[in-house]
């Protein structure tokens, strides 16, 4: 029962900062008490004196005494995240919302598509799956970014690729002069033509900019995935995180309570889902 104040915020200390790209940074934090969550759920992160905003952890849900949050510079609060220093104190409330139902995915071929900073929630998912990799038949991770410099988690890729049953394909939209790249150059959705997964009954997760979610979903439907097997992480304005502010309403649903993880069949008839 909800007797506690849902806005209760816990302090956390930044113990490491990783600049993943010119605009994306991961802060690694130690909360004053463990914050258990399920992968896909989000938290509200406070920068004291500045503001708060919703973010999805990018670390495994098997770890609760520490948390990674990967944040793109995109507005007021995130600007300050990019100025933060190791040792700074932030606040965390949550977790809120729905998670990826990975317990239902035993024995399946899991496909994950993460574009741009949308790779952050999918990394949490990927790492949470890796913990029990024996449970799944295979994990395919499609990663997209605009340019090689925008590609995040570069330092982890080789290690992940070495894991049995894991297949990672990466693409960039273009390679500007002076940047190096020896993997695919195409839209992330085009990577679908390079994999060989039976879509029937297998789950696929899509997270990224709205335009990628939209065309990714269309391509997955063409590929043969069922509406109910396509998991979308919806980015909406989640102010309160608890279904009280109504800013994240998608028709009859709240992105913060009924989502942020939705299956496509649930939301496909609502308006403006991609905007």
């Amino acid at each position: 029962m909800a007797q506690t104040n849902p806005y209760k915020t816990f302090a956390a200390e930044i113990y490491e900062i990783i600049d993943e790209s010119p605009t994306i940074r991961t802060i690694r934090v130690k909360p004053e008490k463990p914050i258990p969550f399920r992968t896909g759920q989000f938290i509200e992160l406070t920068i004291p004196n500045i503001g708060e905003g919703p973010f999805t952890p990018s670390s495994s849900h098997h770890i609760s005494d520490k948390m990674d949050v990967t944040i793109m510079k995109a507005g007021f609060v995130t600007e300050y995240v990019h100025k933060a220093k190791v040792g700074d104190r932030i606040g965390i409330r949550g977790p809120y919302g729905t998670c990826y139902p990975i317990d239902e995915w035993k024995g399946k071929d899991v496909l994950i598509m993460g574009g741009g900073v949308g790779m952050a929630p999918t990394r949490s998912l990927f790492l949470s799956l890796l913990q029990d990799i024996d449970n799944y038949n295979s994990i395919t991770f499609l990663v997209g970014a605009r340019t090689p410099n925008d590609m995040i988690y570069k330092q982890h890729i080789q290690g992940w690729r070495d894991i049995d049953k894991v297949n990672i394909l990466r693409s960039v939209d273009r390679v500007p002069e002076g940047e190096e790249w020896n993997e695919e150059v195409c839209l992330i959705t085009k990577l679908l033509s390079k994999i060989n997964i039976k879509p029937e009954g297998n789950p696929v997760v899509v997270c990224g900019p709205p335009i990628m979610m939209k065309f990714g979903t269309m391509d997955l439907l063409k590929y043969g995935y069922a509406d109910k097997d396509i998991y979308l992480s919806m980015e909406k304005k989640m102010y309160c995180g608890i279904g009280h502010c109504r800013h994240c309403v998608i028709g009859q649903y709240y992105a913060c309570k009924d989502g942020p993880v939705f299956t496509y069949d649930k939301v496909k008839n609502e308006e403006n889902i991609w905007e």
Binding site: N5, G75, H244
Partner: protein, 343 residues
């Protein structure tokens, strides 16, 4: 029980002055000081207040006394014990939405809950209606049969008191010690029923030209041109949502300091441009007509799914305050009859 109107008034003033029953505040509707506008407002009672208890609803929604435009959620504001008199059917009906939205099994708004718990509500039957009143058009009534602690129905210079809750019963006990209460003579119930029916007839007459079906799903399917047309005089001020008894959209502001986490909520409006904008600048409804339409869909479609009740209680306030003089009832009626031309 029956109480003389004059006695009831002196009881209210005594309550406020002497904190009878522990009430630290008594709030009543009074006439607007501007003789040109025919409106009532809620006010903390004092010696010079002339309460307008029967009449029709206030211009400020009752919701605003339970969900102020700015309140601190963390650490949560505490509220205080108070008595609100003169709540009308359209405001009381809104609690069915607000209570489900803000005090549910998942999460509770601690400040709204505190105000709900600490407030005793005396509702009153409407004796008159104003031009924008249309509760009966949305299935409501000009009196309330739910959520009240005590209800007063006017009979001549007296009120018939009905008990609606434990809180109401306790209040009545306190009242008994201060003023004379008498037993009904027998014909009051009949008189009240007649009064109520007469007001319903007036409402039905006034709103017959806005009649429409109850299948509001038609709104979602209506032609977009109709909305573009209707929203032309809308200036996007958000007056309509701020005055609505069921609108509860807020933003959370962070006022945290180095030492303490502080969260504050402030009223927001879906009619404002920045409402649903996400980091990065995208907004799902950049055009005014989209936001205008969203309000109607929220009221008649989304809230219906969320709360099993449409989000309009027919108070008509949004009509009274609209800077663009938009007739809400007409917009609903018209767009329900405008089928989509083509996808």
């Amino acid at each position: 029980m029956i109480v003389k109107a004059q006695d009831f008034l002196s009881f209210l003033i005594k309550c406020q002055k002497e904190s009878l029953g522990g009430f630290r505040q008594v709030i009543v509707p009074r006439k607007s000081r501007n003789p040109e506008d025919n409106q009532q407002l809620f006010e903390e009672i004092n010696d010079s207040t002339e309460p307008v208890l029967e009449s029709y609803r206030t211009i400020d929604p009752l919701r605003a006394l339970f969900y102020f435009s700015r309140e601190t959620l963390l650490p949560a504001d505490k509220g205080k014990k108070r008595l609100i008199v003169g709540a009308k059917g359209c405001d009381m009906a809104a609690f069915q939405i607000l209570d489900k939205a803000l005090i549910n099994e998942d999460f509770v708004d601690p400040v709204y809950q505190a105000w709900r718990e600490q407030t005793t509500i005396i509702s009153t039957d409407c004796a008159e209606i104003c031009d924008s009143c249309h509760c009966t058009l949305v299935g409501g009534k000009p009196y309330t049969d739910q959520n009240y602690d005590l209800n007063l129905s006017g009979v001549g210079q007296h009120y018939l008191i009905t008990i609606g809750s434990q809180k109401g019963e306790e209040l009545l006990k306190i009242m008994k010690e201060v003023v004379d209460l008498s037993l009904p003579q027998g014909d009051e119930i009949d008189k009240i029923k007649k009064n109520r029916d007469a007001v319903v007839v007036k409402l039905n007459e006034q709103n017959s030209r806005f009649s429409r079906s109850e299948d509001y799903s038609a709104l979602r399917k209506s032609d977009i041109e109709g909305w573009i047309d209707d929203s032309k005089s809308c200036i996007g001020c958000g007056g309509c949502t701020n005055i609505c008894p069921t609108c509860y959209c807020i933003i959370i502001n962070d006022d945290s300091t180095g030492e303490e986490f502080i969260k504050v909520r402030s009223a927001d409006s879906c009619q404002l441009h920045g409402y649903a904008r996400v980091a990065g600048g995208d907004t799902p409804r950049p055009k005014m007509y989209q936001r205008f339409r969203n309000r109607y869909l929220c009221k008649f479609d989304y809230m219906k799914s969320n709360f099993d009740m449409i989000g309009c209680t027919g108070c008509g306030r949004c009509i009274d305050v609209c800077a663009g003089e938009i007739e809400f009832r007409e917009v609903v009626q018209k767009n329900m009859q405008l089928p989509k031309v083509q996808e």
